[in-house]
């Protein structure tokens, strides 16, 4: 019996279940298939905060959201069109995010009295009309999965039960016509030497597919055509963590400097340590330090030795690295510090995202110690941002802080793989060694070139051995100096060197409708949401100008002019208005803040409202 097929431009699907239900796995597989099919997409995993909260409870719910479309898209989507709910807790935790009319596919087997209680339901929402505003499909996934696996040799009911997530995957794959081979290949590989699990999972996946194919339950099938407005090139999926790792690897390759990452585990920055630890083959050294202070010290020690020293952490760790970052500023050595921001203050909400470390990045050290601060805009952009951070650190002999956040590091999108030969070379410009007579001339480690940059002479270089330290030093010789005038000079020279970077920054690009009176200026991970909101605003026929900062300090040369060029400026941030404060101080422009501090990314819908309001 044929089914109607409807076309959709964009769809948001959310898989939700218990931590134990393997929702992240299902989400990942669905995403791969979707990517290969050629849709544009954006995803957002939503882990529970607890290691493993009691099964079936709300805190135990784990979800994965994917937004895919036949046109380029910018966010994982505000509200799902389809919610797959593997148990009552998953339904309850996510119901609020749905708009009426949305589709709910529920594993009815899981809606037992016990599970309902754990989720805090007194009655069964599948029956008491709670869901009357939605298109509800009740599917006995557990039963069907077990049945499908029956008689497969070696497969116990436990294996079968565990495979129900693959049933859900199969069902959704059918619903949106995702290719099945890639998923089946993955299952084959993954369980290569676990035949029972392989069989059970394959059976479950196929059962899910054919359930969609055969039952009356679902009468429509949807198609989302491949995205057409995508730039040609070879693509892969990356999340912010992977893109950052690749950006650092690229910087290492293009500078010829071996990479050392020293980190102390902390959510959500740990992933970068895990990822780079696997790349020893590319000459990467990783050290899990005893704490964040040591991690920063180890990275700086490696930099002293002529390597690309990197350390990554999150808020609490940034507090601890401050003193070492200040030392790096004084030593004028390259150091890349990556802050994957999370909701603060203090321990805060480790698994939630925020942009509240900007002013700390700028001012979170004693004394006058300016340094470049950058922020990544999208998961894929982490590649360029990390590469640029490393480039500035090496070429300007300075610590650089790169701001990412929990949202960027976990969410993924298709990423056009750059042609490595087109990546800029990074020149460490090491001081040459000296022998014989020449080496008897005093070596001056604090002389400067036109940009104010001092020589970098790692140990091992003959004839230029020297000593550096955290005490104020004499201009030129680098000898310890308490001379008042010299301190003023050195303070100025340190600042000018950083300020000099501005000269080589491209002007900040604006995407403006002519006649636009509102400039929306953002930074960091709100990029996608701002673009998406602007698209909606423009669809309403309204005019808006957009600009997004990668360089927070120094700022691009034209920022002041830009701010003054528009009657109104809106600055959306996931903090209490930190960039706004910076801009006001720099340019005395009365920018307006749209702030949100909930631990969640900004939503396109709320930004749309904010923009429209700002225009009134």
């Amino acid at each position: 019996m044929g089914k109607t097929v409807e076309q959709r431009e964009r769809v948001v699907v959310r898989f939700a279940g218990d931590s134990g239900d393997g929702m992240q796995l299902v989400g990942g597989r669905f995403t791969d298939a979707t990517a290969l099919l050629g849709n544009d997409l954006a995803t957002l995993p939503d882990f529970p905060a607890e290691i493993r909260a009691p099964a079936g409870t709300i805190p135990g719910v784990s979800a994965f959201q994917i937004h895919f479309a036949s046109r380029d898209i910018l966010t994982p989507g505000d509200t799902p069109n389809v919610l797959v709910a593997m148990n009552p807790a998953a339904l309850k935790a996510n119901l609020a995010t749905l708009e009426r009319g949305a589709t709910i596919i529920a594993n009815e087997d899981a809606f037992t009295k016990r599970n309902l209680e754990k989720a805090g339901y007194h009655a069964n929402p599948l029956e008491d009309g709670t869901l009357s505003d939605f298109r509800l499909h009740r599917v006995p996934m557990t039963t069907l999965t077990t049945r499908a696996a029956e008689g497969l040799d070696g497969v116990g009911t436990r294996d079968a039960g565990r495979a129900k997530n693959l049933f859900a995957l199969g069902l959704l794959s059918w619903l949106y016509g995702r290719p099945t081979e890639v998923t089946e290949r993955w299952i084959e590989a993954k369980f290569a030497n676990k035949p029972a699990s392989r069989a059970a999972n394959l059976a479950a996946f196929r059962a899910g597919w054919s359930f969609g194919e055969t039952t009356e339950l679902l009468d429509v099938q949807y198609r989302v055509a491949p995205a057409t407005d995508v730039a040609p090139g070879t693509y892969r999926q990356v999340n912010g963590t992977t893109a950052t790792a690749l950006g650092l690897l690229a910087a290492s390759a293009r500078s010829g400097l071996p990479l050392l990452l020293a980190s102390y585990p902390i959510t959500p920055a740990s992933e970068l340590l895990h990822e780079l630890s696997r790349h020893a083959g590319a000459g990467v050294r990783t050290i899990q330090a005893e704490d964040e202070i040591a991690a920063a010290g180890m990275a700086l020690g490696a930099a002293f030795g002529g390597h690309l020293g990197v350390t990554a952490t999150s808020g609490p760790g940034m507090d601890l690295k401050a003193e070492t970052i200040g030392l790096a500023a004084m030593l004028e050595l390259p150091l890349v510090v990556i802050d994957v921001q999370r909701a603060g203050p203090s321990t805060g909400m480790p698994t939630k995202t925020e942009q509240s470390d900007l002013l700390q990045a700028l001012h979170g050290r004693h004394g006058e110690s300016p340094l470049p601060v950058l922020a990544a805009a999208t998961p894929g952009d982490c590649f360029e941002a990390a590469f640029e951070a490393a480039r500035l650190a090496v070429e300007y002999r300075t610590p650089v802080i790169l701001l990412s956040d929990g949202f960027l590091s976990n969410s993924s999108e298709p990423w056009r793989i750059p042609d490595v030969t087109t990546l800029p070379e990074i020149d460490p410009a090491f001081a040459p060694g000296r022998v014989g007579a020449e080496s008897r001339e005093p070596f001056m480690p604090y002389t400067r070139d036109a940009r104010g940059v001092r020589p970098w002479a790692p140990p091992g270089t003959p004839g230029v051995a020297h000593r550096i330290g955290g005490l104020e030093k004499e201009d030129g010789t680098g000898n310890i100096s308490y001379d008042p005038a010299n301190h003023a000079t050195m303070t100025r020279l340190r600042a000018e060197r950083i300020a000099h970077i501005q000269r080589e920054l491209p002007a900040l690009a604006v995407d403006a409708d002519d006649g636009a009176e509102l400039l929306v200026l953002g930074w960091g991970s709100s990029y996608g949401s701002i673009r998406a909101a602007a698209r909606r605003v423009r669809d309403r026929g309204l005019k808006v100008a957009l600009a997004h900062l990668r360089h927070l300090d120094p700022l691009p040369p034209n920022v002041g002019a830009l701010l003054r060029a528009y009657p109104r400026v809106l600055v959306p941030e996931m903090n209490s208005g930190q960039l706004a404060q910076l801009l006001r101080a720099h340019f005395l422009v009365d920018v307006h803040s749209h702030t949100k501090i909930t631990g969640q990314p900004l939503f396109a819908a709320e930004l749309e409202a904010a923009m429209v309001e700002a225009m009134e």
Partner: protein, 346 residues
């Protein structure tokens, strides 16, 4: 700091003490024990046969920390207590260098305690020289973690009431592979210990009793001055029975309860004496020796307590490299970027 001329870096043995003296005027108080140690180290360096540019001195903050400026090698005067962390980063990436840490009792054992014990645990290839003057010198006389209980200092006007660390015992509890003690005022002994430390592959931990004439004068005179040192230095020599004192009349032996004790050789006879074994895998003997003296005002062991080889930090990683230590070239980088599922849009 400026570097003065030196022979071409061919590692030839023609180096002299002068090659390790920087042009910086030393700035310690008159009579400070640091002068003697500096001179001993500069005098010993040529023995290494390593060109000065492949030697690095990393220091923390304190009077001892100034050491880096006076060595005409590469040097970093870091921040307080963090030299072991800085050095670990350097040692992990630059196995070709000879790396020396100079630190004080406050720098190493107070603010820097955590980095110290972890460097020892990891067996990072660095030499740690701890100048122990049992006081905070640079900050002008506060109690340190090695100051004796009851000590009156600026920060403890009623006397310090905390038990001090025994640096060697702490190091041994932290898995140290090389542990030794020497004296600022015994140049020959110090040189000997430095020699052994340099020869040790992993982390070498050397405590050097150092006199601070300004804030803690005479703390170690019992062990260093002509009239008392013979009676109170217990010189440890691997493989030899432990004897000490005037006419070597005393020795160390195991008591009935198994604890170590000081004995008169006359009473127990030479054979009853404990024979020092620095190479024992089990650190318990070295630990027991480190506890022999509570304070350096009584008979105190000096020399090499423990020296055993163990895998170095980073060595395993090096081994695990699927490729030789290198930076990704264009091809390798291209491969990394294309790892996993990719698709092409025409």
């Amino acid at each position: 700091m400026t570097a003065v001329g030196r022979p071409p870096a061919n590692g030839n043995g023609a180096l002299a003490k002068a090659d390790f003296q920087s042009d910086q005027e030393t700035r310690w108080c008159p009579g400070c024990g640091d002068y003697a140690i500096l001179s001993a180290v500069q005098g010993f360096m040529p023995e290494l046969g390593i060109p000065p540019e492949r030697i690095v001195f990393m220091t923390g903050i304190g009077c001892a920390g100034r050491f880096a400026y006076y060595m005409d090698t590469y040097g970093m005067h870091g921040i307080h207590g963090r030299a072991p962390a800085l050095a670990t980063g350097l040692a992990t990436t630059r196995p070709d260098l000879s790396i020396w840490i100079v630190t004080g009792d406050g720098d190493a054992l107070s603010i820097g305690g955590n980095h110290l014990i972890h460097a020892l645990r990891r067996n990072v290839p660095v030499k740690i020289l701890l100048f122990n003057n049992q006081i905070y010198g640079l900050t002008k006389g506060q109690a340190s973690p090695t100051s004796e209980r009851g000590k009156i200092t600026k920060s403890t006007p009623f006397g310090s009431h905390d038990r001090p660390f025994n640096p060697l015992a702490l190091a041994l509890g932290a898995e140290a592979t090389f542990v030794a003690r020497s004296l600022d005022r015994d140049r020959a002994h110090l040189a000997e210990v430095l020699r052994a430390a340099a020869a040790h592959e992993g982390t070498a931990f050397v405590e050097i009793y150092q006199n601070c004439p300004v804030f803690n004068d005479g703390a170690f005179f019992e062990l260093t001055e002509r009239d008392t040192r013979e009676a109170s230095q217990i010189r440890l020599v691997h493989g030899e029975p432990i004897r000490f004192g005037v006419d070597r009349a005393h020795g160390v032996a195991r008591g009935a309860d198994g604890d170590l004790q000081l004995v008169d050789v006359a009473d127990v006879g030479e054979d009853a004496l404990l024979v020092h074994d620095a190479h024992r895998e089990d650190p318990s003997l070295a630990f027991a020796l480190s506890r022999l003296a509570d304070r350096p005002t009584e008979p105190t062991p000096i020399g090499i307590f423990r020296a055993v080889e163990r895998p170095l930090h980073g060595a395993a990683a090096a081994a695990s490299d699927s490729a030789p230590r290198t930076v990704a070239d264009t091809t390798m980088l291209d491969a990394l970027l294309h790892a996993g599922d990719t698709w092409t849009v025409a």
